[in-house]
């Protein structure tokens, strides 16, 4: 236990340190201020989530679906940390820089795995608490509370996320182990994991749409619909039913079964992982040995620009957490375009899956005019999430001396980094727009808008991110996540892109058509795309002029 607490302390200090990147040289006071600011921002974000969840719970309760709140809370709490854990587990458990040091210590391997995965379980529990407790509060406010039911509800917030988090970590370990059989293990891991996440996403939306469609058709009463939702949750995730039985009806055996499975599943997962831990790490470290292609030479040399573009793409594939963060937007772009192309917006609108509303052909025609104006902003938002260039300077890390001593201008280096991001982005936007055009879902004008607005917004915000990263690079990271997940550059880029896409999208779809008409609105949308592009160019020129590559 003592060893576990010591290792946990190291993990906690690492987390705190990563919350104030680049602050290591600051005074204790300045560092404290930085951490306090991060704390305040986290509390604000938490408050926002809680407020949203309370409103959702209140809506259900006011619609008379109080009974559905508990299973919904348990299911949501259980799933809350699944994706997070799946993405983070590999970087947290395998291939860490301190692997040899920790494994050489006289500590049981099980303790090491428990301490390492504690951050994953801790994050999942925190998310579950944020989601479940507000829902329980609403439930108890409407259904009444007893001391045992409140206690069981509180305990369920800790227990509910454990099995799915354990399974997600185990799945990540499985995909990691499988990927080591391939020469390009990282690429295999990224493809496998993203495919799995896409399947989960499609299944979730498919289930959500089918529920709404059935509800729209059956719609006998709201109570029937809520009963159907509860029953589906029970069928898909029986522990939710057991927890509900315990909290709502006071069934001790049912709750005991819920508690037992919540503890047993992660325990089994951790046991299997600790037994295979050394093998997987060993396979990851040695995956390239014995398969050397030393003698294979390239036929011709590349320009420095092309060499850096290819190096940046290799970085993306070489750091899975970086790839997850920056490639998922491309995947969503293609998935959205294929969904729209194959299902068809007219089909979606006439099916009643959107809030159970069924439109007639005339209404659909009218709606399509507005939807065409929405498409560019949807793709613009997705494009701004693909901002790999926004952290590309910090990701040079301890190898930053290579770029600092390369006989190239900052413009050439920054331009190549930007190109490595911009080329796949415009290719995905182009392919998505072409697919929708080919299936007749959008016209030529909308095709141009999707590409221009999508790329313009991407280019504007990725250049803002690049400028921030160039001005304040963080080369002292120990885990790539510190840069990819918690850097100001990528946060500003994604949040700025999101706010801009939502605000300008709302302006283009809700305000401008009624004020100026559809044709003029299309003109303004194109102008906004062009302005974003020009703005991005101006920011890049300024960044290239003011940046010097030095080692920190």
């Amino acid at each position: 236990m003592r060893s576990f607490i010591i290792l946990l302390g190291v993990q906690a200090r690492g987390l705190i340190n990563s919350l104030a990147p680049g602050a290591a040289k600051l005074s204790r006071r300045a560092r404290g201020r930085r951490l306090a600011l991060m704390g305040v921002l986290s509390v604000l974000l938490g408050t926002f989530i809680v407020a949203y969840i309370v409103m959702l719970g209140l809506s259900l309760a006011l619609l008379g679906a109080t009974e559905a709140i508990v299973p919904l809370a348990v299911a949501a709490g259980a799933l809350a940390g699944a994706v997070f854990t799946f993405i983070k587990a590999r970087g947290t458990l395998f291939g860490t820089r301190d692997h040899d040091l920790i494994m050489a210590m006289p500590l049981p391997r099980r303790t090491v795995i428990l301490a390492r995965s504690a951050t994953l379980f801790g994050a999942s529990i925190l998310l579950a608490i944020l989601i479940m407790l507000p829902l329980y509060a609403v439930y108890f406010a409407f259904a009444g509370a007893t001391a045992p039911s409140v206690l069981l509800a509180l305990a369920s917030a800790v227990l509910a996320p454990l099995p799915i988090t354990g399974i997600a970590a185990f799945a990540a370990a499985g995909v990691t182990a499988l990927s080591t059989r391939f020469r390009h293990a990282n690429l295999a891991f990224i493809i496998g994991a993203m495919a799995l996440m896409l399947v989960v996403l499609v299944a979730a939306y498919g289930w959500s749409f089918s529920m709404r469609a059935d509800a729209g058709q059956a719609a006998a009463s709201l109570g029937d619909t809520m009963a159907q939702i509860s029953n589906t949750i029970y069928a898909c995730y029986p522990p939710a039913a057991w927890a509900t039985q315990g909290i709502v009806h006071g069934s001790v055996p049912a709750y005991a079964a819920f508690a037992a499975i919540s503890i047993a599943v992660p325990a089994v997962c951790i046991e299997i992982m600790q037994r295979t831990y050394l093998g997987i790490n060993d396979a990851l470290a040695a995956r390239s040995r014995g398969r050397a292609r030393t003698r294979r030479d390239r036929a011709k040399d590349r320009s420095p620009f092309a060499a850096i573009v290819i190096k940046e793409l290799r970085t993306l594939v070489g750091i899975p957490s970086y790839a997850f963060n920056c490639l998922f937007g491309y995947l969503l772009m293609i998935a959205a375009a294929l969904a729209i192309s194959l299902i068809g917006m007219r089909g979606i609108l006439s099916s009643g899956v959107i809030d159970g509303v069924t439109l007639d052909p005339a209404q659909i025609d009218a709606a399509m005019g507005y939807i065409m104006l929405l498409f560019p902003w949807v793709f613009a938002f997705l494009a701004t999430t693909c901002s790999s260039a926004a952290v590309s300077i910090s990701l040079e890390g301890r190898s930053s001396w290579i770029m600092a001593t390369a006989p190239l201008s900052p413009r050439a280096i920054l331009g190549a980094k930007l190109a490595s991001n911009a080329l796949p982005c415009i290719a995905c936007l182009g392919a998505s727009a072409a697919a929708m055009l080919a299936f007749g879902e959008i016209d030529i004008l909308s095709t141009c808008e999707v590409v221009l607005v999508g790329f313009g917004m991407f280019f504007l915000w990725v250049n803002v991110g690049l400028a921030i990263d160039a001005a304040h690079p963080n080369f002292s990271w120990t885990v790539a996540n510190e840069v990819v997940k918690r850097s100001a550059s990528i946060m500003v880029c994604v949040l700025g892109g999101m706010v801009c896409a939502f605000a300008l999208g709302a302006l283009s779809v809700i305000v401008l058509p009624d004020l100026l008409g559809l044709a003029a609105t299309h003109g303004i949308v194109i102008a906004l795309g062009a302005c974003s592009l020009i703005g991005g160019c101006a920011i890049f020129r300024h960044t290239a002029r003011t940046t010097t590559f030095f080692i920190n």
Binding site: R287, R289, R291, D301, A307, I402, P407
Partner: protein, 253 residues
């Protein structure tokens, strides 16, 4: 205090490969290196010695353009590292004290990347890479990812990368740390060959015996100030370099 009497630059009828004049570097209020001047001629193997924190790496980083200069000037083959950094960097190669390179690349990919950056033709890079990899016994590992390399293997890889464009000036920070005896011996031969071809080598080291045997010139730095510089025989006189180093450092302290 500089032992200027012992400085005897070797003029060989050509401009210096490295000329440092009144170089100063500060970190905040602290002066890391103060008013340092020295010259490295073609054919020189120049050793730069000093205790930990004396300012060796600070100067080296400024020479290779990886750190700004606060005062004075540094010229490589006549190109100012601040005013004309690209030309200066193109004539130079750097081997840092920690050979950190992109772990996701294979050794071969890294060398190709460096050759592309320095615009080395495919045939030239192939010839130099093959020769150097054979000499440093890294040929069999070039297809492996750098992440699987030991410290010494990374050091060898960075050395090959530094030599692949035949630099006029090779700057090395503690180059012998982590190298096995065979590679260390081979590196000394490689440095001699580079100097014989008209290039120059400037390196820092704590191993005074190596500096004494390898270098024709030496500079001693303490707390950011140059204590002595010039031909190795002139600096050490009849004593060993170690004795002179200890004497100078203790006297100045």
């Amino acid at each position: 205090m500089q032992r200027s009497a012992q400085v005897t630059p070797t003029h060989r009828g050509s401009s210096p490969v490295l000329a440092i004049a009144h170089y100063t570097k500060r970190y905040g209020d602290k002066v890391a290196v103060r008013d340092l001047s020295l010259t490295v001629e073609p054919g020189d193997i120049y050793g730069f010695i000093g205790h930990n924190g004396a300012g060796k790496t600070t100067l080296i980083r400024s020479i290779v353009g990886a750190q700004p200069v606060d005062g004075g000037s540094i010229r490589i083959c006549g190109h100012d590292v601040v005013g004309d950094p690209i030309a200066a960097k193109a004539a130079c190669a750097y081997v840092p004290d920690n050979p950190d390179v992109y772990e996701f690349m294979t050794g071969l990919q890294y060398l190709d990347f460096i050759a592309d950056i320095y615009r080395v033709s495919a045939s030239e890079r192939r010839a130099r890479r093959t020769e150097l990899a054979e000499r440093l016994q890294l040929a069999d590992a070039l297809g492996d990812t750098v992440g699987s390399y030991s410290h010494g293997m990374r050091q060898k890889l960075v050395l090959i990368g530094a030599l692949i464009h035949e630099p006029r000036l090779l700057v090395l920070d503690e180059p012998f740390v982590g190298l096995d005896p065979v590679a260390s011996h081979e590196l000394k031969k490689i440095l001699h060959e580079l100097a014989e071809r008209g290039g120059a080598v400037f390196f820092s080291s704590h191993v005074l015996e190596v500096v004494e045997k390898l270098c024709n010139k030496v500079a001693i730095i303490r707390a950011g100030e140059l204590l002595a510089s010039g031909a190795t025989e002139d600096v050490r006189g009849n004593a060993s370099l170690e004795d002179i180093f200890l004497e100078l450092v203790e006297k100045e302290a």
